[in-house]
Amino acid sequence: MLTMHNVGKIYQTDSVQTHALRDFSLTVNEGEFIAVTGPSGSGKTTFLNIAGLLEPFTSGQYTLDGIDIGGLSDNQRADIRNQKIGYIFQGFNLIPDLNIYENVEVPLRYRGVPAKERKVRILECLEQVGLASRARHLPQQLSGGQQQRVAIARALAGKPRFLLADEPTGNLDTLMARQVMELLEEINQNGATIVMVTHDPELARRAPRNIQVVDGELADLTFYQGKPATPASAPEKSAHESVVGG
């Protein structure tokens, strides 16, 4: 599904060169649910941005669903984001002037899905996250947890094969966070590949596979068997492998 080989990302200013990612190599197989952890500023979000085609990488090779991302034009990257990738942001990133229905509609409009089909898909997705009855509400009329569920519905509307979640529970209380996590697990069980960046060790442990990013490098790789995982039931960490086949 996703293969990165020696991917590097350098942010360059006039006087400073920052290596956000160094020789980052990773393979994610179809249907996996991976949690990415690491300290602040370690490069988690940069990895997620590159994986989600939100920003270009400086060196290395990245293949998504068999497509070499390196040589794509801006429009081709936009099309892949629209058709293959769903995003869930920490701050939900709902558009405040649009109601829930219209927010979920945004990626479908960019894909050119006909209005009737859009309506069916939007209502299906809102149903899936339990918010069909709130379709005409504005984002600010919903709780944080509900807003994140709308964001998940928006991410699912385009039926993406690859879901990227950046701290999806970062702005939620424990109960809401658990509900959102359960929803992501359900989505993963339905076949979507999920890569989730999180600071929350408990949430990370619930993912079947963990990776850790430190100083822009893949520092650790962890498997847990069974869900929900707990530290007690977790197997020993595998050795510090830098390139992993799932």
Partner: protein
Amino acid sequence: MLEIKPIFNALRRSKVGAILLFLQIALTTAVVSNAAFMINDHLSYLKEDTGFVQQEIFSFGLMTFGKDIDLHQQAERDEDMIRRIPGVIDAVFIQAVPLTGGGSSTSSHLRPPPEESKSLSLAYYYADEHTLDTFGVTLLEGRNFRPEEVVIGSDFDGHGPNTVIVSQAYAQEMFEGESALGKTIYVSSRPLEIIGVVETMKSPWPRGDRSSRTSIIPFINVQNFHRVMVRTEASERDSVMKVIEDKMLSQYDQRVIINIEGLEESKNSYDATDVLMMRMLMVLVVILVLVTALGILGLTQFNISKRTKQIGTRRALGARKSDIIRYFLVENAMICTVGLVIGSFAAFFLGRVLMNAYSINALEMQFVIGTAVGICVMSLLAVIVPAMRAANFSPSIATRSI
């Protein structure tokens, strides 16, 4: 994909900026279309042919205080003297100088009053058979006055002239397409046979309805104050103007010569207020258009800075750069359309108010359309640059804290 419905809904939910902008566009449309119409009206007027060879003509006033002469005989001697000055083509004593804003007009009728008949106001110049040559106007039909047709006196109704030369505009309006030649009109109660029709000959008031209804009546009533018009070779005009006072006083010195002025300069003085108003209108138009353009630019930039994260999110969800540009263009087009529709109605309303208050012509549709198209283009230019800047935002903004 134009996203009209969601953009409309978004504008409806966040409407203050949009309302201010469309009101500004409406105001600009209303004011600019009327101002453009008035400017065009004035430019057309300035380009209008007056019929006179303005660059070759000058005039002056003659105030005689001496009591020891016959004014009519002196006038004839003066005319002879002026016509013999090198470079002079012709000269005429006249009661009013064209294009200066001061003159005479009367009612003219097809039947002798008090009989009911069609009547039109008619500006007139009392002068002799030298008038056509002095004016430089083109005789289209008929002939010039004969010397014996020129009446010298003061009793117009009793012992006045019997002939008249009229302008083509008057002839067409009075006789509605029929030839005016040989027809009779009544000025006061005096019948005047039309013996000639000239092409264009403006009245002393070169603007407005009565500016083209003009006539020359062969009647001389020389009084203590009179005006003289002189036509020269164009290159000789200034030199003749310099010597005319001395020449006139050498003929008879119990008088003063005043207001020696070229006809071109006289008309420029008459037009000065209008030209000033036109320039002020032009400045107003430029300021209004600039303010509106800056308003659109400012609102777009404000919207972009307010929606930076939203733009990043849209890009992350699959929007191409062209989708972002299109979004802002469509949003602006919707605001513009509402502003232009309201502004067009306001323009016609304002035009009607101005028409009633200042007797100007009714606003023509083409000026409203032209203004609307101009504002559309201007708003497009004002929005395209910030929209292109927004389109270049990285989609990664969606994951950053702003």
